[in-house]
C-alpha cells in the first residue's frame, strides 16, 4: 500500500483517507492485513499515535476488523460489496410521481411571456414599487423582531401577534370580521393554494377556475391531479350562470371554485353581488368550497372598499387568501388564510407536514410594522402613487390609441388589460418581440388562458414600478411600433 501525505487536513485524516480509498478501490481487499502501526509510522515519519488515530477512525466506520493478536485486517464484511460499485457518472432518472411529472411537463416556475433584455419602459406585473421609507421602516421592524427571536419550532398557524394584527387590519381596512384563531399565516399565496388543494382534493376531483386565471392557481390544483374547469369571465368577472350544476355529469365531485372577485385576474372585472350570491348558493348545493383570492384588493382607485365574498357568505364556505406580495414585496414570502372553523385543524396538520410553520422573524417584523402604524402609512402612500400611475397609463392609452383600445380592470390593483378588438390575437407575439427590442416590456395575456385564447390582441400592462413620465413615454413609443402589425 502506498500512502502519500497530501497535506490536506490533519495528518491522521490524510492517512485515514488514503487507506479508506485504497479499500474502496479494491487495492486492499477484504481480509487483507494492514501494516502494523509502528513500522507504518516510522515509514511515514509521523508519531505512532497518529497512525493509531487513523486506524481508529477506519475502525469506527467499519472498514477494519481488529482482533487482539490477529493484527488489523480489512473488514471481511466488505466481501462482495466493492465489486459492484457503479462506475458511471450520470445519476439514474427518477421514476417521478404523477405530481412531479406534471411539474416537469409544465414548468410552472418558468414565467411565460417575460422578456429578458434590459427594458427602459417595463410594464411588468407582480413586482410592486418599494420606497426607501418603507425599506427603512421594514429594517427597523426587523431589528425589533430580532431582539428576542423565536428559538423553538414555530406555531404552524403563525405568530399570535401577527394574527391579531391581521384580524384588526381586515376589520378596519376590509370590513372583514375574522377570529385570529382562524387566521393562518403561510409563505405566500402559492403555499395557501397548495395547502388547500392538498386538504380536500383527490386526483380526479373537479376545480372551477376563472378563464383566464392566475397560473399558480392552475398549476397548484392541476398538479394534484384535479380536473380543471375554466369558466368564462366577462367584464363582471366569473359568469356564474355557467357553473355546472349536475354533479352526476362528472365522474368525481367538484370540490372547489377559485375566484378573484375584487379584481378578476387578469381581466379585472368586479363580481357583482348577484353573482356572488349565485356562487355561494352553487357551493352549498354542490357541497363545494370557494377560494376568494384577494390578491390586490388593498388598492382600489375608484370608489370605496368592496365587501368581500367572505363577509357576504353566511354558509361558511369561503376561504379567504390575502398576501403581502403586493403591499410590501414578494421576496417577503408572507400571506395568510382566513379559514372556516372546520378547516383549522386539518390545515394546521398539513402545514406541519409541509414545513412545520413559516419562519417567525418576518411575521414578528410585520406585526411590528402594523403596531407602529408604518404599514398603514406605506399602504396609503402606495395607493396614492398607484392611482397616479394608473391615471397616467389610462390617459396615455387614450391619447395614443383613442377608441381603438378597450381598457379592462383599471379600477383596482397594479395592472390593467388593454384590448384592441380590431386586431387579431396572433399579432401579440410580433408586437411584444419588437417592443422588447425597443426597450418596452409588454406582456401577453395568452399564458393565463387554460382552455381558450384571447379573441383579439390583448396586453397585460403593470404600472406599479414606472413613473408617470416613463409610462407616457413608453406608450408613446409603443404607438410608434404599431406599424409592425400591418
Amino acid at each position: 500500500m502506498f500512502i502519500r501525505l497530501d497535506g490536506e487536513g490533519p495528518i491522521y485524516r490524510q492517512i485515514y483517507r488514503q487507506v479508506r480509498d485504497a479499500i474502496l478501490a479494491g487495492q486492499l481487499p477484504p481480509g487483507s492485513r494492514l501494516p502494523a502501526t509502528r513500522p507504518l509510522a516510522r515509514k511515514l515519519g509521523v508519531a505512532r499515535i497518529t497512525v493509531i488515530q487513523a486506524y481508529e477512525q477506519l475502525d469506527a466506520e467499519g472498514y477494519l476488523d481488529s482482533r487482539r493478536g490477529a493484527g488489523t485486517r480489512v473488514a471481511a464484511a466488505l466481501e462482495g460489496l466493492l465489486e459492484a460499485r457503479f462506475t458511471g457518472h450520470d445519476a439514474p432518472i427518477p421514476r417521478l410521481s404523477s405530481l412531479a411529472r406534471y411539474a416537469a411537463d409544465n414548468r410552472p416556475g418558468r414565467p411565460v411571456g417575460r422578456n429578458t433584455p434590459i427594458l427602459d419602459w417595463d410594464f411588468q406585473y407582480g413586482r410592486p414599487a418599494v420606497s426607501r421609507e418603507m425599506l427603512s421602516d421594514w429594517r427597523r421592524s426587523l431589528r425589533q423582531a430580532a431582539i428576542s427571536p423565536r428559538i423553538g419550532y414555530p406555531d404552524p398557524m403563525g405568530e399570535p401577534d401577527l394574527r391579531e394584527s391581521l384580524a384588526a387590519h381586515l376589520r378596519e381596512h376590509r370590513g372583514l370580521l375574522a377570529d385570529p384563531a382562524r387566521i393562518m399565516v403561510v409563505s405566500g399565496t402559492q403555499q395557501a393554494l397548495d395547502l388547500i388543494g392538498r386538504c380536500i382534493l383527490n386526483p380526479g376531483d373537479g376545480v372551477v377556475l376563472e378563464e383566464p386565471q392566475y397560473q399558480g392557481t392552475r398549476h397548484a390544483f392541476s398538479a394534484i391531479g384535479a380536473r380543471l374547469l375554466g369558466l368564462p369571465v366577462d367584464g363582471d368577472g366569473l359568469r356564474t350562470a355557467t357553473l355546472p350544476d349536475d354533479p352526476g355529469h362528472y365522474e368525481a365531485p367538484i370540490k372547489l371554485a377559485c375566484v378573484t372577485p375584487s379584481h378578476q385576474f387578469p381581466l379585472g372585472g368586479v363580481l357583482p353581488v348577484s353573482r356572488r350570491l349565485a356562487l355561494l348558493q352553487w357551493a352549498s348545493r354542490q357541497d363545494a368550497w370557494i377560494i376568494e383570492d384577494d390578491y390586490d384588493s388593498d388598492y382600489r382607485h375608484e370608489g370605496g372598499t368592496l365587501q368581500s365574498l367572505y363577509s357576504l357568505d353566511r354558509s361558511r364556505r369561503v376561504i379567504y387568501i390575502g398576501t403581502f406580495s403586493k403591499v410590501l414585496f414578494p421576496g417577503l414570502r408572507l400571506g395568510y388564510l382566513v379559514l372556516p372553523s372546520t378547516w383549522v385543524e386539518p390545515m394546521r396538520q398539513l402545514k406541519w407536514l409541509n414545513d412545520r410553520g413559516s419562519p417567525a422573524l418576518e411575521q414578528r417584523a410585520l406585526a411590528e410594522l402594523f403596531r407602529s402604524g408604518a404599514f398603514r402609512r406605506h399602504l396609503e402612500r402606495n395607493a396614492r402613487q398607484l392611482s397616479e400611475r394608473r391615471e397616467a397609463l389610462v390617459a396615455a392609452l387614450r391619447e395614443h390609441f383613442g377608441q381603438a383600445v378597450e381598457i379592462l380592470g383599471a379600477r383596482a390593483g397594479m395592472h390593467l388589460v388593454a384590448r384592441w378588438p380590431d386586431h387579431p390575437p396572433e399579432q401579440s407575439t410580433a408586437l411584444i418581440q419588437t417592443a422588447a427590442k425597443h426597450g418596452i416590456g409588454i406582456y401577453a395575456t395568452s399564458p393565463y388562458y387554460l382552455h381558450s385564447h384571447p379573441t383579439s390582441l390583448e396586453l397585460l400592462l403593470g404600472y406599479a414600478t414606472l413613473e408617470p413620465e416613463q409610462i407616457r413615454e413608453g406608450i408613446k413609443r409603443l404607438k410608434k411600433l404599431w406599424s409592425v402589425l400591418h
Copy 2:
C-alpha cells in the same frame, strides 16, 4: 327603510352599509325603489353628495339598478338569491383528501410524550442551546442582509450566496463535494422530506424506514399514501440484511429508503461501511433512492467526522439532507438538500408549486454568518459545550445506575438513549409522569416506533439545554424516583 348613522367610518360608508344590509336581509326586496338622494340627504342631515357616494358604492357592487328616469331600484338580479342564504352558524365539514384525513387522524403536529408543567431538569430533545454571542452574531448578519433585501420572488433553489457557502462548508467540514447547482435550500428538514415524497411517491409505493424512526419522516411519506416498511436497527443502525429484495412480493415498487447513518435517530447507531455499501447495492438493484438525513452530524464527540453516505455513493442514488435546526435554532426554518443531478429540475418545479421559494432574508443572513467566520466559531463552541454536557450525563447515569443502564448513541449529537434491560417497557409511563411531577423532563422512545415497541424501559434524554450541574442533579433525582417502578 330606517337608516341610523352609527358613527363607524365615513358617513357615506355608514349609509352604504345600512342599505346593503337591509337589501341582504330582505327588507328592501329586489326591484323595490330606493329613496331619492335629495330627500334622504335632507332627512339624515347630510350633504346630498354623501348619499350619492353611498349609492355609487352600492351600484359598483351590483346592489342597484340605476336606469335614467326610472329612479334607483334594488337590483332585480338579486331575485331568488337572498332567500336561500344559510342562517346556521357552523361551517360544514369538508370532505377531506386522503392526505388530510391521514393528517387529521395522526395529528403529526402534536408532539407525543412531551410534558406540560415547568421542568427544572428538562432533558428535552430538539431544542439546541443558544448562546448570547450567537444571537448577537445572528442579529449582525441579519442587519447586513437587510441592507438590500430581495424584493422580487426568490430563486426556488435558494440564494446563490448561501448555496456557495454550503458547498464550501460541506467540503471543509464534512468532506462532501457538492456542486452548488445541486444544492437546494428549503424551509427545514420537514419540507425536504415532503418535497422528496411528492417528487417520487405515488400512493401505494413502498418506503423503507428505520424502526424506530423520526416521526416527521414517517408522517411525510405515510400521508402521501406510501406503504411504510420499518426495518429493525441494532447498535450499528439499520440491519441492511433485512432489506426486502424481491420486488414481485409487493404490489407497488419500493422507491425510497430513509436512513440516519451518522447517528441513527433515536437509538444512535453509526452505520458501518459494509452496511452502507449493501444499502447502496440494494438501491441500485431496486431502482430505489436513499435519503441520508444527516440531522446532527455536526456534533461528533468521539473520533473524527464520518464519511457521508452521499460521498460513498458512486451510483448517485443518495439525496443528502442537512439542517440548521441543530447548529443554530429550529425557529430559523432552514435546511438544504444535495440532489442527484436528475432530481434538480423536478424538485425546483415542486418547490415553486409549494411556496415559490424560501424567504431570502434568513438565507442571506446565514451566508453572511458563514462569510464572517461566526458560524464556524459558534459550531466549535457548541461542540465543546455539548461534549461536556454529554460527558456529565453519561457519568451521572453510570454513577447512579451502574451497569443496570445501557447507554446508546452517545458518540454524537445532542441526545442519547438510556435503556434498562431489566425493566419492562410498560414502566416508562409511570416513571415519566412521576418525574414530571418532580420537575424532571424525560421522554419515552415508544412514539418513535412504527410497527413495534421498545423491548425494555428506554428513555430519550437530550442534553443540549442543561448545564452539567443540572444534568447531575436531574439524574440524581431521577434515581430517587426509581422506587416508583416497584
